[in-house]
């Protein structure tokens, strides 16, 4: 159960015809650092051609640049981050982030942690967890570069978040996943259904831990860059049926998630999730959850 034909056929059964795509590089302006000045115009003066991403408030596609946009003074000063367009969606789905206690459960390398800090105006607290030492270094560099002031970083497995003895208002679960072919040209060669199922199991464990540490009026945003339903719709169906969570309507780029996957009927509320097939962006999946009321 592997190979391009196997996976492409699965996508067809989910309603999407495979095509090769090359998602464009994107940046996100860190509003907390630019103090109203026009960083996009400034990059334009350097010869960087940008196009506003229509479904993002602070996101821009890099149309053309003669040099790496990760090597400008503006980047080094934390005025913007390099962040793929679909990856900018999850943090924007929370309501009312300012002053909240937020868990970024799988935080490294930190693009979304910085985005959360930006959306929070550096208020409240972000508790950022990860386990990989090298990726944690990258996370901490991002926090420094982007002048994040409200984060605390622990080397801790997301499945042990309850060890902190905290309850969270908002939880971002940008969980480890199998990825997708749009950002990994060798994806079909090295991924198997076994990998997908192993990741799905890990993701359920993380979801279960998140449900434990979520405040009664809190919100979870679950996201993967996987196209495989085991890591997406099936996990959310499981969470709804086993963790006392319910999905919440979201308005964002992407298609309504299917509620029938390979002949399996899922909870109708899974429809509220968004599946983003590769094209303008990489492949992505997002869902917002809260405790059942």
């Amino acid at each position: 159960m592997f190979g391009k034909e196997f996976f492409v056929n699965r996508y067809r059964l989910l309603g999407w015809e495979f095509r090769d795509v090359a998602p464009r590089q994107a940046i996100r302006v860190n509003r907390m650092n630019v103090n109203g000045f026009d960083v996009v115009g400034r990059l334009g003066n350097l010869g960087v051609e940008l196009e506003k991403v229509p479904f993002l408030e602070n996101g821009y596609w890099v149309i053309r640049s003669d040099f790496s946009v990760g090597a400008t003074v503006e980047y080094l000063l934390g005025y913007y981050s390099i962040q793929e367009a679909a990856a900018q969606i999850p943090a924007t789905l929370f309501t009312d982030l300012k002053g909240k206690i937020v868990l970024d459960a799988c935080a490294a390398p930190g693009g979304k942690t910085v985005q959360l800090a930006d959306l929070m105006d550096n208020t409240g607290v972000i508790v950022a967890l990860d386990v990989n030492k090298q990726r944690l270094e990258a996370l901490m560099n991002q926090l420094e570069r982007c002048r994040v002031k409200n984060a605390v970083v622990y080397r801790l497995d997301a499945r042990q978040a309850s060890k902190l003895g905290l309850r969270f208002d908002r939880i971002l679960l940008d969980v480890p996943c199998s990825g997708n072919f749009a950002t990994d040209k060798d994806w079909f060669r090295h991924r198997t259904l076994h990998d997908v199922r192993r990741n799905a199991k890990l993701q359920r464990q993380i979801l279960a831990e998140a449900a434990k540490v979520l405040r009664s009026d809190g919100e979870i945003v679950y996201a993967t860059c996987s196209l495989e339903p085991e890591e997406n719709e099936l996990n959310i169906d499981w969470a709804v049926k086993n963790l006392g969570l319910e999905t919440v309507d979201i308005e964002c780029y992407g298609d309504e998630a299917p509620t029938e996957v390979f002949g399996l009927k899922l909870d109708e509320s899974v429809r509220r999730c968004r599946r983003i097939w590769p094209g303008e962006t990489q492949g992505f999946f997002v869902c917002k959850l809260r405790k059942r009321r």
């Binding site: 003074v73 605390v152 990825g179």
Partner: protein, 165 residues
């Protein structure tokens, strides 16, 4: 010396007076952080954190305090010793190079050899700091400021880069 003294002492090298709240500057291993009240409360009860609040810098070999870019930004508004450089010198500086007299647009504060000075670009953005290598009063050209730290360090320290998704 308290954590606060270390950080404020560093700021004074540039003629900047910082008044940090003592209990909110904390040392974690070799690193120094400035915490908010919320972060202070949270971290006090939960040890073993790696990073919190605003990273101020760390003590390196031989006990020398090495500042973060965040600390330089905090100091930037208050520093008396400042050098503004042209675009070419600014670019070379963030590539780790020293500053030559020819690239300097403006000098504020001390011009004496050995003085620590912040380095700014034309937009007034702090790019790092250095130490005046020769008395700038009489200097006609050549090496003027030795680069001690610049924001290009973010690129150099992350090699090999971790892929951002």
């Amino acid at each position: 010396m308290t954590e606060k003294d270390v950080v404020e002492g560093f700021a004074r090298l540039f003629g900047a007076e910082l008044f940090l709240n003592k209990g909110f500057v904390v040392r974690n291993g070799d690193s120094y952080f400035l915490l908010s009240q919320k972060l202070k409360n949270l971290t006090e009860k939960r040890g073993s954190w790696l990073y919190a609040g605003t990273y101020l810098g760390k003590i390196e070999r031989k006990g020398v305090f090495h500042p973060s870019s965040s600390l330089l930004f905090i100091i930037a508004d208050k520093a008396k010793n400042r050098i503004t450089v042209d675009d070419k010198a600014a670019w070379l500086f963030i590539c780790g190079r020293d500053i030559f007299k020819e690239g300097i647009l403006k000098i504020e504060g001390s011009r004496r050899k050995g003085t620590y000075t912040l380095v700014f670009n034309r937009n007034g953005e702090c790019l790092g700091y250095g130490r005046i290598a020769r008395n700038l009063e009489k200097l006609k050209g050549g090496l003027a400021v030795k680069n001690l730290f610049d924001i290009g360090d973010f690129l150099r320290r992350e090699r090999p880069a971790v892929k951002e998704i």
